[in-house]
Symmetry: C2
Subunit: 186 residues, 2 copies
């Protein structure tokens, strides 16, 4: 993958995470999660601008024109998805009290996003996702890992988990209890 393709893929992954987090912030009335959506939107904006700059630069050569057009179109669409996620999170940040029924309607959705902090000395610390078979054992799929200022999107079997990592995971509503013994330090 070249630099532009890496940017587009990161935009796609980030916008998907933003949507998941935005809906979760609504359901749990959680301002901390809503603020992460804002932070991620900034990242999407910068990637979007970088893609446009690069596309404009390359479009001077006729053979690159169509590709530049498509890159801008797709990047623009993803940027608008990110903006929509931001507006959803904004409802939470603006302190409008969410009618419980609106929450309920979104909660009934099949996707529940959870945030788990991995403690030092826990079962997960120093292990790869493949070794611990978290998804198979608990039904919880890690969709992103926040490590300090970095994000790992779509971690795979080879991704090593460390104490301090924040896992964003998709799973059944009752899996909070199931995953607890894996992430708590001893």
């Amino acid at each position: 993958l070249n630099e532009d393709d890496r940017r587009l893929l990161e935009m796609k992954n980030t916008s998907e995470l933003m949507l998941d987090l935005a809906y979760s912030s609504l359901i749990y009335q959680n301002k901390v999660i809503a603020k992460e959506v804002i932070e991620l939107e900034d990242r999407v904006d910068r990637l979007h601008e970088a893609i446009i700059r690069s596309a404009l630069g390359k479009s001077k050569e006729p053979k690159n024109f169509d590709r530049s057009l498509i890159m801008i179109k797709i990047s623009d669409s993803i940027e608008r998805i990110a903006d929509a996620a931001l507006d959803i999170a904004d409802v939470v940040l603006r302190d409008i009290e969410l009618h419980p029924v609106v929450k309920k309607s979104l909660e009934d959705s099949d996707v529940v996003i959870q945030k788990h902090v991995v403690e030092n000395g826990s079962l997960l610390h120093g292990k790869t996702l493949g070794e611990i078979k978290l998804a198979t054992e608990t039904g919880v799929w890690v969709i992103a890992i926040r490590r300090g200022y970095d994000w790992i999107y779509g971690p795979d079997e080879g991704t090593t988990i460390s104490g301090g990592d924040i896992l964003y995971a998709r799973g059944p509503a009752d899996s909070e209890k199931i995953i607890a013994p894996w992430i708590k330090g001893k």
Copy 2:
């Protein structure tokens, strides 16, 4: 759930499916999938209008004002996500040949959406998703089922599969082969 909440939930589920399908149509250059995105957008538009009409009607009572405001904000955000999905699918429908590298960049994403037609007499026919443990056995998660003109979003363990059903599923790239014996008729 009341009528409005059901609409909002259906909008959310539909917009998520539209995004999955739109990216898949890009990756596989598949116009049939791209056209389904258009059809679904029409459904989202109608739900969006119904939510606005209902919110306006209810906002006359002061106690409903904030709720109406939030319903319109969220519904509007979801409608814009659906529009963005439509624009992504539009790239495929407008016959702009996709540069292979753009495809590759999206393919590298962790999510691969597959479409499977269940044949009559197959192992899946007449079974619930819980009975066959499809996700556990194959790693393939059914996210939506198209049955004639109806859609079932987020099917659960109790959902019965029938011959003729079209399954939209999320799974690893190599799972097409793994799922084949489950959906082929004998």
